[in-house]
């Protein structure tokens, strides 16, 4: 089972005809994902990658039955695109775009909250993330598909290439993945660790979860609390940024230790206290998961 998308999920792509949208939509199609439509304002009626292009998300949803949107729209317009997908009825929205102003995301979150209060279930993944992949079924994002393998380990991460590194270690040790979710490196994200952990806990295919966090914010501490209160499946946690200096932004807008909060130490301590298996060495993620599972396999 998949926690967000599977082989029957109909997906539309916003920013379909742009260079990033075209390149990655093509890769997703080749992986086997059901990309059924694209949206680029002003290009409605055209065909791109053998898929129909629509002017609006509303048109694409009405004509194709897509319920999920994958967004590659440039940062200045991306927040508006997320709201368009929400307004058109999409229930799963994955925003790859990097560099969206934080204030825009604050407004997006409020917009989604209003819809949620009226009973709609909307999952926003990202922004500034690699997307979501259900190995062997559906790739909705920019990750290299071939490093993944279907299996029972869930992976959730704030970073892109760091996720690939972890997935590669798992796959090379024969540990496949149920779903891999990049929640993104921005301070305000659509989904946080706890949201995704809840989905993995409920998913019968997932047996264990690898959680890859980084310095900044308190999402890992919240996830540790969630794990302690609500989870039965084992979680393995790694936090990047131990060697990062205080007050300096490490590439990601969200990766910054401010006023003593969001430190590596506090996150490691919270995870340990909650009972999450902490992996200190990035190159030992795969090995640590493998070792813990040997007794089960025997």
């Amino acid at each position: 089972m998949s926690i967000i998308l599977d082989k029957s999920s109909k997906i539309l792509v916003q920013g379909f005809t742009g260079s990033a949208g075209s390149f990655h939509a093509k890769q997703c199609i080749e992986y086997g994902s059901q990309i059924v439509a694209g949206v680029t304002p002003g290009r409605g009626g055209q065909t791109h990658l053998d898929r129909p292009v629509f002017n609006t998300v509303h048109d694409a949803v009405r004509n194709t039955g897509a319920f999920a949107s994958l967004i590659f729209v440039p940062a200045p317009y991306a927040a508006d695109s997320i709201m368009e997908a929400v307004d058109a009825g999409c229930s799963t929205i994955i925003c790859i775009t990097e560099g969206i102003p934080v204030l825009d995301m604050a407004r997006v979150k409020r917009y989604i909250d209003i819809q949620s209060r009226q009973g709609r279930e909307i999952t926003l993944i990202g922004p500034n993330c690699p997307g979501v992949i259900t190995p062997g079924e559906c790739k909705a994002g920019i990750m290299p598909g071939f490093i993944h393998k279907p299996g029972s380990i869930g992976v959730v991460s704030r970073s892109g290439t760091l996720t690939y590194e972890a997935v590669d270690q798992l796959t090379k040790r024969g540990l496949g993945q149920s779903t891999v979710v990049g929640i993104g490196g921005d301070p305000i994200a659509g989904s946080n660790f706890s949201d995704i952990l809840a989905k993995f806990e409920a998913d019968p295919q997932t047996e264990a979860v690898v959680m890859i966090g980084e310095i900044g914010g308190a999402a890992e501490e919240d996830a540790a609390r969630f794990f302690k209160d609500k989870m039965t499946k084992p979680v393995f946690g790694f936090i990047a940024g131990k060697s990062a200096p205080v007050g300096r932004r490490m590439g990601h807008a969200g990766a910054i230790v401010e006023g003593g909060a969001g430190t590596h130490e506090s996150k490691i301590a919270a995870m340990r206290a909650a009972g999450i298996t902490v992996v200190e060495n990035l190159s030992e993620i795969g090995e640590t998961v493998l070792k813990s599972r040997r007794p089960l396999a025997a």
């Binding site: 920019i142 071939f146 290439t161 760091l162 590194e165 590669d168 980084e214 990047a240 807008a253």
Partner: protein, 387 residues
């Protein structure tokens, strides 16, 4: 983007937030007397313009009662190395002083707005006990801190500002004025895409409510629509960091000896951590980006090599969109232009890894290859130590 006090005050004043009279910023003692005249009558306050709090205790803020006293302070302060509890042991050179007129303080309040991750919006943090560091206040008097969320679509409404005023025990005859000032502060925060705006203290004086200090950080992601902010110099970035940015490379200089080139911010941090675990120290954070090509790799190598502390380089690429063979070709091309005198360790994984490794092998360039990250980190650490 972090703004200096005088910049933040200039911006706030334009937006209806009163600040003390000032005589501008001086960089040389020769500019002092004119600045004192502009700031008005004695006493005056000389304030070091650096991006760190805790300046007062560290000697970065001085009250001068006479021009002679002001001159002595200015002479001592311009060029001084300031170490405050917020500079993490590092000294910051004082290049500029803000010359302000003294004000009569009746009451000091703490007021800030931050973009809060958890509630996903701006939050006001305020306290009747101003002038103290908020961290200290949070520890010693958590009950004295008021938190109030702000809807970014609406801003601070009158009723909310009034609630704040009464909670802070602002005298009835000054509640209206308090609401005007705090609404202007919140509006400035939202209009400028603020990440943090701290007024500590916000003061009540016989001449009105005003911001005695101002610290402001704005969202780098929003600079495309904040043209005025985008034009200002980045006070925090070093020359190398500014150069890196021009080539779309995210670079932060550190103190170590192993230069790093990695694709992706998370993996770049993870690589730094792995180097540290292996017994070495990273010289920098460097994310070469998701669309790295030969030119980008060349620029990244040049930037790393400009840091003379670097004794070895570790390139760690996990090919996704970026293909390993393209990176390898870029490294080879770059090394034909740059004479490398220090060891280079390259670890490639992911898309087209075998083709990439072959290009490196066939190039004849003396570099050290590694398959796994831990192996790469150990080889880089050994190389940096001259082993």
């Amino acid at each position: 983007m972090k703004l200096l006090e005088f910049e933040a005050k200039e911006i706030l004043k334009e937006r209806g937030v009163p600040v003390p009279a000032n005589g501008g910023v001086i960089k040389k003692t020769g500019q002092l007397s004119a600045a004192l005249r502009r700031a008005g009558k004695a006493p005056w306050v000389l304030k070091a313009q650096v991006l760190a709090g805790g300046r007062g205790k560290a000697g970065g803020i001085k009250l001068a009662k006479t021009p002679k006293e002001a001159a002595a302070f200015a002479k001592a302060m311009i060029g001084m190395d300031l170490i405050t509890h917020q500079t993490h042991g590092q000294a910051i050179k004082v290049n500029e002083l803000l010359i302000e007129g003294g004000v009569k303080i009746e009451r000091e309040l703490y007021f800030s707005v931050v973009m809060d991750r958890k509630s996903a919006g701006p939050v006001i943090i305020a306290s009747a006990q101003g002038g103290m560091e908020i961290e200290t206040l949070a520890e010693e008097h958590p009950e004295a801190i008021i938190r109030m969320g702000v809807d970014p679509n609406v801003g601070l409404r009158d009723f909310a500002a009034r609630r704040l005023a009464f909670a802070l025990a602002i005298p009835n005859d000054r509640v209206g004025e308090f609401c005007r000032v705090t609404k202007a502060l919140v509006k400035a925060f939202i209009d400028l895409d603020g990440s943090m705006l701290e007024i500590n203290p916000l003061i009540l004086t016989p001449k009105g409510i005003m911001a005695l200090d101002a610290k402001m950080i704005t969202d780098d992601n929003a600079l495309f629509r904040q043209k005025d902010l985008a034009r200002r110099p980045d006070h925090e970035a070093t020359a190398l960091e500014i150069e890196a940015k021009k080539h779309d490379i995210s670079y932060v200089g550190l103190d170590g000896t192993i230069g790093c080139m990695v694709n992706g911010a998370g993996l770049a941090m993870g690589t730094m951590d792995t180097i540290a675990l292996a017994g070495g120290s990273p010289a920098n954070f460097l994310d070469v980006g998701g669309s790295a090509d030969e030119a980008r790799v060349t620029h990244a190598l040049k930037i790393i090599l400009k840091d003379k502390k670097v004794k070895a380089i570790l390139i760690n690429i996990f090919g996704g969109i970026v293909k390993c063979d393209m990176i390898a070709a870029g490294v080879v091309a770059a090394l034909k232009k740059i004479k490398l005198r220090i060891p280079l360790v390259v670890r490639l994984q992911g898309t087209n890894v075998d083709a990439g490794k072959k290009i490196l092998r066939d190039s004849g360039i003396p570099l050290i290859q590694a398959d796994e990250l831990w192996e790469a980190a150990q080889k880089a650490v050994d190389a940096a130590k001259g082993k």
